[in-house]
Subunit: 255 residues, 2 copies
């Protein structure tokens, strides 16, 4: 099977690397950015081109969401499978007379950081079982966590990641503003943050909750409220405390 | 120097263990719960009592916030230092004619989990330099992260931890509600969560931010908004997105 990866960004690089490491041969990486393609090509030993797209059985389009539609049009072959790697785009956005699919790795990729690819979950969608099985076999060579998912489900997957990762990171940023204001080094909080995350590898986050809000400790909640000057931090504080209280409301009244 | 730890909960256990491991001798653990004290005593080889408090140079009161005041009254000695371990209590809540201090380890403790004590930051406060230096030497035997902090600062430290850990955990719990609703295993998100936290060990959370809100991707934001049914999740979604947009407002307009 001939595989071509289209794109020269972080997702393209890491997918190409994950394929190569797991003895899945990639015939070409194709894109517009010659500098980036050349770099990937040299690191992974995969031929690249900015002009002539190779014939292939599978094209993996690993480009920004907003470019998928346009990029998908350059594939003129019919007897091939084309998969994009986005969690937020329907497979119908792929424009061409080929078979369409989605090959969505749930991970943030940065070029410099090496990743354990076997920990990355893959969410797959294809229009027919044969294509799905092909993608499944590929993904399973990389990771044990492979799951079928519709576009609707991918949206929820993305939303879950937004809550669990994007919002979480923003909480760290707001927390750092608070500790910075008192000249307390933010890295003093890293062990506690690590511990918080380690805990949810063992028990469900709902069972792991601690802090003043779940204890309904109004004295501490009020004293904290007075410390917060920033409007957004104040809003986050209110909304999170309300949500925590609501999640455990019935539980507490049973105590 | 004779040290007595008062309390039989998780903080008392882990402090006693951290002391013992670092060749700081603990003369007694004292408390009300005989079963728990006996267990700690057997594991760490420290004598315990529920009745007769030993004379000591340093008493570390490791009990719940609301019990500190009451417990502090049982120390009748004058020529001694008494330190509580709370981030949320003034040292003035210690009632007695002894010297007063705070010895606050920033970590969540659970009895079953073993901890790397050398990663735990200690925040210290004492009324005079000699007492402060004594506590500093003790803390530094356990951890390299030792810092002076006033009660006012401890409140900010606690508040930072609430944002970075308690609220973060609640985001995980709300995220799990979303993935559960689609029968997507929440543990599929753990590698991404781990990666999110690993990143802030290397770069500041402000620089690590990703996701639809910082990209001002209104299309995705709207499509996500429509997926959320739960009122609290909706409120969290709105407040977090607004706060992310505000944090990077000037930055984006410069792009």
């Amino acid at each position: 099977m001939k595989i071509v990866i289209i794109g020269s960004g972080n997702v393209a690089f890491h997918l190409a690397k994950a394929f190569t490491q797991n003895e899945i041969s990639v015939s070409q990486i194709f894109g517009r950015n010659e500098t980036d393609l050349k770099e990937i090509s040299e690191v992974l030993g995969i031929p690249f081109s900015t002009e002539k797209l190779l014939d292939a059985d599978l094209y993996v389009i690993a480009v920004k969401d907003e470019s998928i539609e346009e990029v998908s049009k350059i594939i003129k072959e019919k007897n091939c499978l084309v998969a994009h790697t986005s969690g937020s785009v329907e497979i119908e956005k792929l424009i061409g007379n080929y078979r369409k699919a989605s090959f969505y790795p749930l991970q943030t990729f940065s070029k410099t950081k090496s990743l354990d690819y076997d920990k990355i979950p893959f969410f797959l969608e294809a229009k027919n079982d044969q294509d799905f099985d092909l993608l499944k076999k590929l993904a399973q060579k990389i990771s044990p966590k492979v799951m079928k998912s519709t576009f609707e489900q991918r949206k929820y997957i993305h939303l879950t990641a937004v809550f669990a990762c994007n919002f979480t990171n923003h909480l760290f940023a707001k927390a750092k503003e608070i500790s910075d204001s008192q000249n307390i080094p933010f890295d003093y909080f890293l062990p506690l943050i690590d511990e918080t995350v380690e805990k949810i590898h063992q028990i469900s986050p709902k069972d792991a909750q601690t802090g003043p809000a779940i204890r309904q400790d109004e004295k501490i909640l009020n004293s904290h409220k007075k410390l917060i000057k920033d409007k957004d931090a104040k809003d986050i504080f209110e909304v999170m405390n309300t949500s925590i209280k609501n999640m455990y409301k019935n539980q507490n009244s049973e105590l």
